[in-house]
């Protein structure tokens, strides 16, 4: 690949911080555990605090605190204090089971929390706990309610899998009517991390994927857009229906498609694993870019060859891949997520087979009717 200069901001705007690799749960589709991001001990507090000072100098605006389970760290308040002191805002991704009133009150008092995302995967204990472990539905809902009581902006993420796909209507009713949340987002169990061990039991079949797409489209309309999907069936169905419509109309192309343009994350943000290794994205923990406090963030961000190669990924045309040969959707496709492409094919610079419309249709998958 030619070493063409890539235009990039001086520093990242946002960071994803995996402040711990520990978790009190072992959800069977977790994107962690059994990946290169599984490292030994967590980075000590002082190392994070030093790094936050560097983030301040780099004018980073916000961080997403992730894990493992962030609330498992006994020093989470000190970590958040360090973020606030260094002029950043923050959000947190959590399973919700370890949230206390005291912690929620502290988070509210900072005035800097954009949102806390709690994972809830079912309308009942029976369904939620199938993959997340017994007793955790009630704990997660309690955690969610504690956050709301303290006035913290919350959102819920529903990960769709074989054990909850037929509960989607109930989940929507539970979250949007019973709990009266403003909305929730969806994705699906992906071939990453622990999910790879249980893929057959957890990942949606094509029939279930079709059911999920159809149901989510209906629910999204019923609830007036309060259900969203950055990944998974709801996201896929919007993109795939657009691609199919473009093919039927014989459009020459769709703007921004035809190359590996499925992810712009590397232009805005960077991740840090729980052992302090900088990575392009928490979902791509195998690409180690350098240790925080040893390598300068600005140098890694602007000059690391692996990061710049990922940025150049966007100029790789899909028609250069055997995988895409003779595909009628090439001019309308983005190749989707590089992390999934890597876990499935061993290459980031490849389209993700999981998101391939032609493959899905050839294997018997269906798209919903336009008027669903």
């Amino acid at each position: 690949m030619p070493d063409k200069p890539v235009r990039v901001t001086k520093t990242p705007k946002s960071l994803e911080l995996a402040i711990t690799n520990r978790c009190n749960l072992r959800c069977t589709y977790c994107s962690h555990f059994s990946s290169e991001g599984d490292t030994g001990e967590d980075l000590p507090l002082e190392r994070w605090l030093s790094f936050f000072e560097e983030l301040n100098q780099c004018a980073v605006m916000d961080v997403s605190i992730q894990g493992g389970e962030p609330f498992i760290r006994q020093d989470l308040t000190e970590i958040i204090d360090g973020i606030v002191k260094n002029r950043m805002r923050f959000s947190i991704l959590t399973n919700g089971t370890l949230i206390t009133d005291e912690m929620a009150s502290f988070i509210k008092s900072t005035g800097r929390c954009d949102q806390i995302q709690v994972s809830i995967d079912g309308s009942t204990s029976e369904i939620h706990d199938t993959c997340r472990g017994k007793g955790n539905f009630l704990k997660s809902v309690d955690g969610l309610e504690i956050l709301r009581k303290n006035g913290i902006p919350v959102t819920v993420r529903v990960t769709i899998h074989r054990h909850n796909v037929f509960d989607l209507e109930n989940i929507a009713k539970f979250l949007l009517e019973d709990l009266n949340l403003p909305g929730f987002s969806t994705n699906s169990a992906s071939y990453i991390g622990l999910c790879r061990q249980y893929a057959k039991e957890i990942q949606l079949t094509h029939e279930e994927r079709y059911f999920a797409m159809t149901t989510l489209l209906k629910l999204s309309r019923k609830y007036n857009g309060r259900i969203t999907g950055d990944a998974g069936p709801l996201s896929e169905v919007s993109m795939w229906m657009e691609m199919e419509a473009a093919r039927k109309k014989r459009m020459k192309n769709l703007s921004g498609r035809g190359c590996l343009k499925g992810c712009r994350g590397v232009f805005n943000k960077i991740g840090v694993r729980s052992d302090g290794q900088m990575v392009p994205c928490i979902q791509m923990p195998h690409i180690a870019l350098g240790q925080i406090n040893h390598e300068r963030l600005i140098t890694v961000w602007q000059q690391h060859p692996a990061l710049n190669e990922l940025r150049r990924r966007m100029s790789i045309s899909l028609d250069t891949f055997d995988f895409c040969k003779n595909c009628p959707y090439i001019a309308y496709c983005t190749g989707n997520c590089p992390a999934l492409a890597y876990t499935i094919t061993g290459m980031e610079n490849h389209p993700s087979p999981d998101a391939c419309l032609r493959k899905y249709l050839e294997e018997g998958g269906k798209l919903p009717d336009d008027g669903v």
């Binding site: 901001t9 705007k13 004018a59 605006m61 606030v84 002029r87 805002r89 005035g111 954009d114």
Partner: protein, 92 residues
């Protein structure tokens, strides 16, 4: 006119492409985009320059500075102060 405005140190100043920048107020979660002239002004809000001092420097830096530039600078600085992005130092 003799006042010397100074930036709020808790504001994040992010330089972006082509000499544009973003001002980010972490306490409020609000941000402003700055064009290159606004960036020039922002960098001189150091408590050492009056608005008039900034205008003089701007005229040296940029050709074709409009006659009413002082009004624009005063308006911009006024907005920054209204939104808490800048202020004046109080001397006891």
């Amino acid at each position: 006119m003799d006042n010397k405005p100074i930036i709020n140190r808790s504001i994040v100043f992010r330089e972006e492409f082509d000499e544009w920048a973003i001002l980010f107020y972490p306490d409020m979660g609000t941000s402003f985009g700055l064009n290159p002239v606004s960036v020039f002004i922002w960098k001189h809000l150091d408590g050492e320059h009056t608005v008039n001092d900034i205008l003089i420097k701007l005229r040296k830096q940029c050709e074709d500075t409009p006659d009413d530039a002082i009004n624009h600078i005063e308006g911009f600085v006024g907005k920054l102060i209204d939104h808490g992005f800048a202020g004046y130092e109080h001397h006891a």
